[in-house]
Amino acid sequence: MKKKKEMKRREFIATTGMAVGAALVTSSIGPFVHTTMAKGKTLRICSYGGSYQESQRKAFFEPFADKFGVKIIETSGPDIAKIKAQVDNNAYEWDLADLETRHVARGELENLLEPLDTNVVDLSGIDKKALRKAAVGNIFWTTSLAYNKEALKGRKPASSWADFWDVKNFPGPRALQDQAPFNLEYALIADGVPMDKLYPLDLDRAFKKMGEIREHITVWWKNGAQQIQLLTSAEVNYSSAWNGRVNVAQTKGVPLEIVWEGGCVDLDWWCIPRGNPNKDLAMKFIDFALSAERQGEQMAKYIAYGPTNLGAFKYISDERAKQLPSYPENLKKQFAHNADYWGAKLAEVTERWKLWMIS
């Protein structure tokens, strides 16, 4: 008996050692794997990693695993290309994925996602903007104008995209993301187009307005870590940035501010790769994770995104709620990203964008 226990401990040490080693290796080269142990069925979930996935682990994965006796295997780095490969080859690596809207729109266009079973998933409390054909919104997140208060050295900060374009009154280096979506909308807003009349985009007008600012954009950022690094180190005074990342920097004491005015509110979605044999359990998980209580805990404690379940605000303090993208006062100042417009137009506009960038 004792010997057996000893063996187990040794096995444990060996396996954890291997797991740590493997985690070290994989974390440097690709998605990491985190397992929440429980007996019974297995659910494989892919999300975007970092502090975001950590918030999901605490608010959804661990409670779900405990409550239903399910083993959850996590991976990171989802995109629709990987789902297409899984569906086409009928070899499923994920039962459930957290995806950005442009991927969802593309996935629906190519029929790669499983429609939700409304008998299992209770959608009654969910904001209408968070409902799609084959996906349900999981968070609201905002990409908007952000700045470093210290870098401005007491000057009045820009408070709109028109100010961002006004390099005389609001001087200093600026950054935007190297992509057409969001930026073209910002350009049109700066040019005076009302936020509810943005789509379909007037591309010629948008590119013309972008031309005014092009030489003043010192950095075109490519990934999420860059925007905060640029603002924190005061390499730029202004940049478009994701509100969740700005909030994380704020809690670490970095003097960043986000301007809700003219922000682009978008969603992340729960999706199931079409034909997945484990879809029933995945639906059950979605229903669990959408509940007001679960979303409330996630946003109140772990990350500053907006709940899609309107009931979740009753679990969130007023002070905290004001920092979230879907807080009604904040939401009023923003426009909603039109994924269906972009789903159809992305290929063409991306080519035009890249050509504009290099010329």
Partner: protein, 292 residues
Amino acid sequence: MSTLIPKTNGKNQQQRAALRQFLLVLPALIALLLFFVIPIGSIFVKSLFDPDLTFKHYIYFFQNPLYTRVLWITLQISVLATLTSLIIGYPLAYVLRRAKPTVRSGFMMCIVLSFIISLLVRNYSWIMVLQRNGVVNMLLTTLGIVEFPLKMLHNKIGVMVGMTHIFIPYIVFPIYSVMTGIDLSLEKAAQNLGASRWQTFWRISFPLSLPGIGAGALLVFIMSIGFFITPALLGGRKEQMLSNLIQIQVVDLLNWSFASAMSVILLAVTLIIFAFYNRYLGVERLWGGVKL
């Protein structure tokens, strides 16, 4: 070993040796077939069938000004990165060849160390060093050498610094290994016959080290053609690489046939350069010269 094998006639033994060698190479061959030949073959097939046989993706590539211009930019950046790597790597190899063993092994350690550090870490370190209020600019402005911070990041300079740093080991080792094969007494003989140090270098050392330059430059050039993280992080809006456009087609637009066609074109460019190298310098020098 030989005592264990019963003696048979020569031919039989030869066949056995050949079989043994084949078996030793077999795992490598299988790996090459599985992870290289089949994937590249399937990419090639995918680029031609969408779903029926078509050349439309290739035609589109050469008709759309974006793709040909980005291919041109990719080639320009690759040539520049190869040249800067050579300019820094060649003198380094030259000095290392003639350095004391202790100094040499110290330098070699440093060069190998840069292999171990992740690419992303190295790129972000360069951002810290080169940015507007980074280490270099702070030093220059406080010393009064420049009035305003220099722009060394998010342009071609940043890309060149980052890429050269990554490529140094790849260019130093081939050149160094060719140089170790050069008899240093040849230089002494030349100087003995009245050649100046400059003449000795240009007429003796440099021509003999050419195979190393060729091998290192080819290696670096081929690597830089497919590069995209460093130009993306350290470059500006004009430093767009073709591999970045391929990624957009794969991940965002799910246009895998077009992405395949772009990959095949990039591969073709690489092969053409390889063929030129083979024609004028001889491909056997690539592995003949390299004795790491």
